[in-house]
């Protein structure tokens, strides 16, 4: 199967630019990135369908000259899906702008709170001596080695 080098390069450029934009904070840029990558994938499908041929209509053209219709059907589906997702993302970016004055993807507040607590080496607020013996026994019973660092551990590992 011969492939069209120009198309392959186009796919590469679209993906590279798209990934760059996808890593931005602003939802609008993310959206543009998604659209670029979406078009990159659609072009990739065209590469996958092999050399271009005549319209795949039975009776009009010889079977050997036809281009492969299946990837084109898939591309159509993918375009429709991208359209829907684009509309939703635009609406969501607009709503975020209405609420916050910007459309940046924000950090997880609760996660940040737990991480700050871990940095200050504070016990979790749900670890409570006043709860009496039961709590301590439960904690000491099973995960004696694991339980204590667990309160601070995963944050360091996850970030």
């Amino acid at each position: 199967m011969t492939t069209n080098l120009v198309l392959v390069v186009v796919v590469g450029v679209l993906f590279a630019a798209g990934v760059y934009l996808l890593l931005e904070r602003s939802l609008t840029r993310v959206l543009v990135g998604v659209i670029l990558i979406g078009n990159g994938v659609n072009t990739l499908f065209l590469v996958a369908s092999g050399p271009a041929g005549r319209a795949p209509i039975v009776g009009l053209n010889d079977v050997d000259d036809m281009s492969d219709p299946l990837p084109q059907a898939m591309v159509l589906t993918a375009i429709v899906i991208t359209l829907g997702v684009t509309a939703f993302l635009l609406a969501m970016a607009y709503r975020a702008w209405q609420l916050n004055g910007h459309d940046d993807v924000q950090d997880d507040v609760e996660d940040a709170a737990i991480r700050r607590r871990a940095e200050r080496d504070e016990v979790s607020s749900s670890y409570d001596d006043s709860a009496g013996g039961t709590m301590d026994e439960e904690g000491a019973d099973e995960p004696s080695g694991e339980g204590e660092p667990a309160a601070v551990g995963p944050e360091g590992e996850r970030r």
Binding site: I81, F88, E142
Partner: protein, 526 residues
Amino acid sequence: MNASVLVPLPVVLPLFGAGLALALGRSARAQRVVSVVVLGLMVVIAAVLLARADADGPQVMHVGGWPAPIGISLVADRLSALMLLVSVIVALCVLLYSLSQGLVEYGPDIPLSIYHPTFLILVAGVSNAFLSGDLFNLYVGFEILLAASYVLLTLGGTADRIRAGSTYVVVSLASSIVFLTALALVYAATGTVSLAQLAGRLDELPPSVALLLQLMLLTAFAIKAAVFPLSAWLPDSYPTAPAPVTAVFAGLLTKVGVYAIIRTQTLLFPDSPLSDLLLWVALLTMVIGILGAVAQDDLKRMLSFTLVSHIGYMVFGVALASDDGLSGAIYYVVHHIVIQTNLFLVAGLIERRGGSTSLERLGGLARLSPVLALLFFVPAMNLAGIPPFSGFLGKLGLMQAGVDDGGWLAYVLVAGSVVTSLLTLYAMAKAWNRAFWQPPAVEPDGAAGPTTDLHRKPVRTGAQVSSKVAAVALRAGMAGPAAVLLLVGVAMTVFAGPLFGLTDRAAADLRERTPYIEAVLPGGAP
């Protein structure tokens, strides 16, 4: 084979119902009737499909009458039908719960007519993903359920949900892009996307190309299933949604990803199970997920982390690539769909009864509401794997499969799953102690301090969660579905024998591959 006419119905019915519910948007009562009737019918259909698939082999419908490699085929084999049945039962329970919760009538903030149609479309997407006989249709199923989940997650458009929703949407988009790219490459390499035909053609590819395709598909599905290095989005986004939405997401969405992993690993790449990689990933998912859960002090977030953690058990079973391992994984998926949904529904009840899901502020619920305590205790112990319950049986099955495997890594995994199980018990015991046994928190400043509210309350429409109003008695309509799910969970213990028999047969089918391929392509692969 006449049951095959039923195969498309689990996809068509909810889509039709969604259209009808949208058209009836002005009448909440009519919408409810439509949704309940549709989901009720789907339970019956899925049960019939499962019975027929178990008795007669995979049921296949070629949509539009075009035979397999050309047209789209929908296939209900034992695995698909079992997943479908459990999912629809869970969806029905969640819908009944949300009817009673009055989610759709919270107030002017939330679009009244959107909830039911979107919920039905979500179910249609899930069914389509389970029944799909080709990779592209699987992608379409994913997109349907993701689009619906975007809407449900950002329902009402409050600041919290937009924040959580943007993370979720961007991550989901990234996974969809990986999946779609993999699809294009699969087509370029093999010239087909039909699963049955791919099963034959992928064998002929050079191993390195097949490995690349496998890794790309695994990456896409692992994001959706929230497998460890790709799981950070889940605990961030799920807890902000309304309780029933979180419950249905937790039960169904990640499991669709797990289903896709099982299907592609067994059908498309049987010779290259990547066992070591998947075992490591499973171990990390289990242990790191549960350590995250232990650190949380919000019940919903804790449950989200246990959800991530227990995905590791399923990946463990798949990675073993043996009949017993797969069978245990399938049993565990079924168990986990029911239990995790149940726990999130109960978390919604706790929020309603106690006014919060923060373990810091809850307290004394065991005295306040013994029924609620029972509703939480049984699924919590079930999740942790206390002996009579299905969680124990599922874990036992997986551990036996791990020991049978005999490799040192499999033994490490067995040890890891024991530790995870204990830590789950620890997390659940902590939640139980804090919320149910501890004397009530200092009520006045706890309840009146929304300024220091780290623990986001998803809905503040005045009518619902001012904590005085929230301290209402449980409504039977809300506790009922949670109780039903609890009973389903217990029934999985009582009927564990037949259920394990079914999953054994499903696993054997998957490993053998020929029943599926021959059902879809009766004349052999062209």
